[in-house]
Structures are given as C-alpha cells and as structure tokens.
C-alpha cells in the first residue's frame, strides 16, 4: 500500500495563499488507510486551513470533498463541476492522484497536500513501515521473503555490512538490520546455505533507473 504523510500546514498554506476558493480533495483508498489523506484527514486539513486563513484575514472559502480514488479517471470525472467552481485544489492523494488530477484539469492548479512516502504496511496501529521499493525485479525468493533493497540502508545484495550490531542497523538504532532478519529467517527455514552464494550485481534497469516504467497488456486493452 502507498504510505503518505500530511505536509506541514505552513507549506500548504503557502501554496494556496493567492487563491480565493480552494478545494481540499481527499482520496479514499491508500492514503485513507495510512491516515494522511482520507475523508477524515481532508476535513481536518480544511478546518485547519479555514482557521489559519481566517486569522490572517483571508478568504475562508475552503471546501472539502473526498472521492474513492484519484488515480482513476472514472472517479475523477464526476467532480468536474466541483473543481471548476474553485480556484485551486489541494489533493491529499498520493503523487499519483495529484498527477491524475493535474492531467484531467489542465487549467486548474493542483497542489499536493501530502508527501508520498513509501510502499509499506501498518505493522501495528499507528506505525507504518516501508517494505518495497518497486525495483521491478523481485528477489524475495532468495532472501527469505525480506527485501534488502527496501529495508537495508545501502540496499546491499550481500549483507550484512560491518554496521550491523545487535540486530540493528548502524544508520538508525531503531531499525532492524535487514540482513540480520534475512539471516535469522533463513536460519529458521534451514536455508542458511543460500547466503553462501555471492549474489550478483543487481539489474536496476527494471527499477526507476530505467526511466518511466509502463506495462502493456494487449489482452486487457479495449
């Protein structure tokens, strides 16, 4: 799931400073689950903005609305008129939704209300942790189901480095060392011998380094 985090109010306030009427547009899927930009957070942001602008003596025409997903044209299109009625939109969707909106409403300024942070999961209520970097060439079969690309600070293919101490990463003592996790897990699975092979240099061309990625499935095309 995509994990995002609300941007500081100050930053958002600055973005929309010169606009009269602003729509705060929530997105009801990923960013709702991570409490960054669902209906509730959109309402909180709108309320905050209204108060802040009121105190500055500015227009408080901040309205809020939430759609199911801002990354699907079918969900974006029905709010055409609503968007037309405002001067700018703060989208609390992830970067995909913001771009989806910008692409659909070419003449309307669309601003990001959240920082799209990573792909991860809520490991426990209130704690969201990165799990995948979408490198395009999954090696979890080799690493006991724990991804060193996303979870090792240096994305090592042949860890752990010398900074692994008491199971933690030297970069952040609260972060478990991914390679220690891999070691422990393979040890439990009785597959430690997997770690004896040198893993070759990774093919990054499938990652973002290969440029804009896209997948075409002819069978699904209309």
């Amino acid at each position: 799931m995509i994990i995002a985090q609300r941007k500081p109010l100050e930053e958002i306030k600055e973005m929309v400073a010169s606009y009269e009427k602003v729509l705060v547009l929530g997105c009801g899927t990923c960013v709702a689950v991570c409490f960054a930009g669902g209906e509730k957070e959109a309402k909180l942001l709108a309320s905050e903005l209204r108060m802040a602008r009121q105190m500055e003596g500015k227009s408080t025409q901040i309205i809020e609305h939430t759609i199911q997903r801002q990354c699907e044209w079918e969900f974006i299109d029905p709010i055409k008129e609503l968007v037309a009625s405002v001067d700018a939109v703060v989208s609390t969707a992830c970067g995909i939704g913001v771009q989806g909106m910008a692409e659909r409403f070419e003449d309307k300024p669309i601003f990001p209300g959240v920082n799209t942070t990573f792909l991860g999961m809520p490991v426990q209520p209130g704690e969201f942790v990165e799990r995948c970097q979408a490198c395009g060439d999954c090696i979890l079969d080799l690493t006991g189901g724990i991804c060193p690309v996303a979870r090792c600070a240096k994305s090592l293919m042949n860890g752990p480095c010398g900074g692994s101490q008491n199971g933690k990463c030297e970069v952040n003592p609260e972060t478990p060392c991914a390679w220690q996790l891999i070691y422990d897990r393979l040890s439990k699975l009785g597959q430690l011998e997997r770690l004896l092979d040198v893993m070759p240099a990774k093919n990054w061309s499938t990652s973002r380094d290969g440029g804009l990625r896209k997948i075409i499935r002819e069978d699904l095309k209309l």
Binding site: E10, K40, L44, R50, M51, A52, Q54, M55, E56, G57
Partner: protein, 142 residues
C-alpha cells in the same frame, strides 16, 4: 469586543459515565463554578474526534476540554486513553494553525468528584481568560 469584558466560551466534551455524572454531582452538592462551559455529553470520550475538536475551534470556541473517567476506569475499557492520545494530536494541530494547543486540555474525574469537576471548569476558564479570545473568534469579529 473589549478585552476587559472578555468571557471565555468553552466547549467541554464529557462522557456519560464519569464526566457527565461528575457534573451532576457538582449540582447536587451546589458547588458553583464559572458558567462559561458548554457541556456536550457523549457516550464515551473515545467518541471525541479530532474533527470535533477542530470544529469547535473553527466555530469560535475559546477553549475546549475533555472530561473522561480516570485511567484504567473507562467503562469502555480504554476509550479515555484514545481520547487522551487524540487530544495530544489535536494540540499539535492547533499549535500548527496558530490557535495554540494550550487552549485544549484533557482531564480525568470519577463520577463522585463534583468538586473536581467544578475545579476543572474554573481552571480552564481562568486559563482561557488569561489567554484571551481565540484568534479564530477574534478574526470572526465576535
């Protein structure tokens, strides 16, 4: 409005167990306290939403507080602890907005503590009086 005549307008969220009953207890014992507090009765302070708190301030509250059961004594097991966490989060948002997190507070009382309920009302009224009208209300011009 002139500063000298300022009378704080406060919204208090109370649970129907300890908070509201403590208010009733204060009444039975005729313990007086400032009349600046609007009491909003909820089934549990676990129902207090950050959205409610911001909404109160947006609509001109000078202060808001939450009166819950003592910790470990929530009728709904731990709704009061959830409320406490949310109050803390809402305080950070109010600081961010510039309204000030100190206009929001969390309290715990038992149903029998009418005196404590009155003391809290007085404490919050005094605190808000000292802080002056909420900047939002000031901007509203009311």
């Amino acid at each position: 409005m002139s500063e000298t005549a300022f009378e704080p307008e406060i919204t208090a969220f109370v649970c129907q167990y300890c908070g509201d009953m403590a208010a009733d207890s204060a009444g039975w014992n005729r313990i007086s306290y400032p009349a600046n507090v609007k009491i909003v009765r909820l089934p549990c302070t676990g129902k207090v939403d950050v959205h409610h708190i911001l909404n109160a301030f947006e609509h001109g509250a000078d202060g808001v507080y939450v009166v819950a059961c003592p910790e470990g004594n929530c009728h709904h097991i731990n709704g009061n602890l959830s409320a406490k966490r949310r109050v803390k989060y809402a305080q950070s948002l109010l600081d961010e907005v510039g309204v000030g997190g100190n206009r929001l507070e969390m309290f715990h009382v038992t149903a029998a503590q009418g005196d404590e309920f009155a003391r809290i009302a007085a404490e919050m009224t005094e605190r808000i009086r000292a802080l002056g009208p909420s900047p939002v209300r000031r901007a509203m011009g009311k």
